[in-house]
Assembly symmetry: C2
Homo-oligomer: 260 residues x 2
Amino acid sequence: MKKRIRLYVAYDGTDYCGWQIQPNGITIEEVLNRRLKKLTGEDIHVIGASRTDSGVHALGNVAVFDTESPIPPERMAYALNQKLPPDIVIVRSEEVGQDWHPRYQQKVTKTYEYHIFNAKVPNPLKRRYSTFVSFPLDVEKMRKGASWLVGEHDFVSFCNVRTNVEDTVRRIDEIQIRETGPDITIQVTGNGFLYNMVRIIAGTLIRVGRGFYTPEKVKEILEAKERTQAGVTAPPQGLVLVGIEYGERQYNGRKETDLF
Amino acid sequence: MKKRIRLYVAYDGTDYCGWQIQPNGITIEEVLNRRLKKLTGEDIHVIGASRTDSGVHALGNVAVFDTESPIPPERMAYALNQKLPPDIVIVRSEEVGQDWHPRYQQKVTKTYEYHIFNAKVPNPLKRRYSTFVSFPLDVEKMRKGASWLVGEHDFVSFCNVRTNVEDTVRRIDEIQIRETGPDITIQVTGNGFLYNMVRIIAGTLIRVGRGFYTPEKVKEILEAKERTQAGVTAPPQGLVLVGIEYGERQYNGRKETDLF
């Protein structure tokens, strides 16, 4: 009997060309498919919730696959982790309904974090998981700028072009900016994100923090509805997909502690 | 005119065979010597304060070298960073007296941190900079155990054998154990550390946290004065040399913010 298994997947994206299978390099999806084939003997194609870009990390991406394997769904995480490289970890596995799809759910909340290391020189222990910014950032101004983005808006100014044009209205529930010494974290929660949206928000808020843009400029960019108005796309290594909530489970605040 | 320059060196030790030059692999010392030769045209041999082991990291190791280069001492950090790989960063550079030696100073205080990720599954974003422990650790017990180590003691039980036998009495000024969700950090400050001492302390405190040892066992190990009594040497990737203080400068608490 076919069962559908849901995986919560964490990975260090540094050495991968993103989630989705592509001809030019190794991807998370490909590694999962290969290891699942080894484990089950079946040809398996995982379906991911979020096709993260090259170099982007995740603590709780979600994927499903169908299998007839006798391995109990909850044990699948452990079995798979024995075969995965150390930069990909299955945090949890469980059975879901046959028609449950990670990208087509009524109620979805995604949380991303963008990490900045703000100091005079880079910290070599942070370089893989943050963006280094050497000019001092005014976090209060960044918070003011970010406040314009909360709510339901057309985020087309914060979206890079992709092949298929789609509805560009999204809802941001919360943007929190935490500062701990030289570490600045922008945490964004919302019902969905356009292509590169969080990285363009981060790039724009960095300009606000630097004083290149006033906080009010963020409102103008949003209203302009034109990509060229916003800041540059911030680099991928600062971005982490922290978690995806389907309304079944309540996370609050930091997801990491809950998932691990 | 020869000048002696002091460097504060941060590095991700993952891909290095430690600080000290050795025939079997690339070391921090070797990379610094080579890049300094490129920069100055002179044959330069840096002298390091702490010869960290393979895989161990640093935020503020200290090294000196002598040069006749016209580059201003304070600019040396910037000039060198242009030539260094991203996993080695010179945080600061400055001139010191001709006879100032990083290992032979009256008053020295070193701070190390040992990082543990304590959860059911490993976090791929923490694997390079922490040790994964899957069984739950009781941090209060670890703190009680650690309290026996504070003060001046013969730490021979917490020292792995090296060629030259030496005085094994050292003074630990403070051990702080911080817990933030699944992250546990053991911060140790003292006037010097024997070979592998912090890693053996970490390995021992992990056993205490797990319940294999009572907190009082730490006192017994110390009094036994025998290496075989203590816990295993915890893996290198959890260890960071946070900073070295020579009594000239006052750091307090976290050094990272001050240095960067």
